[in-house]
Symmetry: C2
Subunit: 156 residues, 2 copies
């Protein structure tokens, strides 16, 4: 989703800058900002795991995403270079202030989408799965509409 511009502050470039600066055509979506999505998924997961178990280890994330610890480790390096997490060899992972901010924004959006799907009548299981995929692609405008719908439903 590439961190929608009108979002809160603390926005960072979540991908390494390519050698040659591109023409930056937002024309059609600039080609999957996959790396940004990963960043959001990870900070969100870290925040959640810290909440549940007080500390987040590499293995926890590996389990969470069902990938090898190596993959987690390398992604954490990237996130560290982006200033989202702090790591120390063989120590638990911590979120930076920026990472926390991104995590809470991501969680909020995640919850909004999930609750909307539930309000729409989707089963909890499917809603959980679909939310995972959808959340990164919902603009602030659409997000407002989803919230409005969920609110209306809750009252009716």
């Amino acid at each position: 989703m590439a961190i929608y511009p009108p979002s809160q502050a603390g926005t960072v470039a979540l991908t390494a800058s390519p050698k040659t600066s591109q023409v930056s055509v937002p024309h059609r979506r600039t080609r999957r900002d996959h790396a940004s999505e990963t960043a959001e998924d990870y900070v969100e997961a870290i925040a959640q795991i810290v909440n549940e178990r007080s500390a987040c280890r590499v293995v926890d994330l590996a389990g969470h995403f069902a990938v090898s610890h190596v993959t987690v480790s390398r992604i954490l390096s990237r996130l560290e270079s982006l200033g989202l997490v702090e790591t120390q060899r063989y120590q638990p992972v911590k979120l930076t202030r920026q990472g926390l901010k991104l995590a809470s924004r991501s969680k909020e959006r995640h919850d909004t989408v999930y609750e909307f799907l539930i309000a729409l009548g989707v089963s909890p299981k499917t809603a959980a799965i679909d939310t995972e995929g959808i959340e990164h692609h919902v603009s602030p405008e659409t997000l407002r509409r989803l919230r409005a719908f969920t609110r209306r439903r809750g009252q009716a």
Copy 2:
């Protein structure tokens, strides 16, 4: 989105099979089926371009996605090996029967999501952008709910 199982027939594995067969944990989404999304985007674009201009060239796709012709060319190779398109050096791209099937399924889902967002009250511009990102992550169940909502709205 990995071609949801309950979909129509003609389903293919849209990614190269890894050397070591994985444990296949659909647990958490198995890690972005990014390649499948690309496949869907491309067959859908090809179908659209063929409709508009009667033939689809590599350059057309490059323009459509705002990427270099090299990227398009390589992706087309992959799609060809998947049996979705037929290419001949310096000739227009054609969809196979399988490619056509996938394209129509993708378009249908795309339209469903777009019309839903419009019915929700999202602006056409934003709806178009968000649909691009969302469409690959909507399950058949959610799709049915979206359709139901749009129908209701249309009548009310």
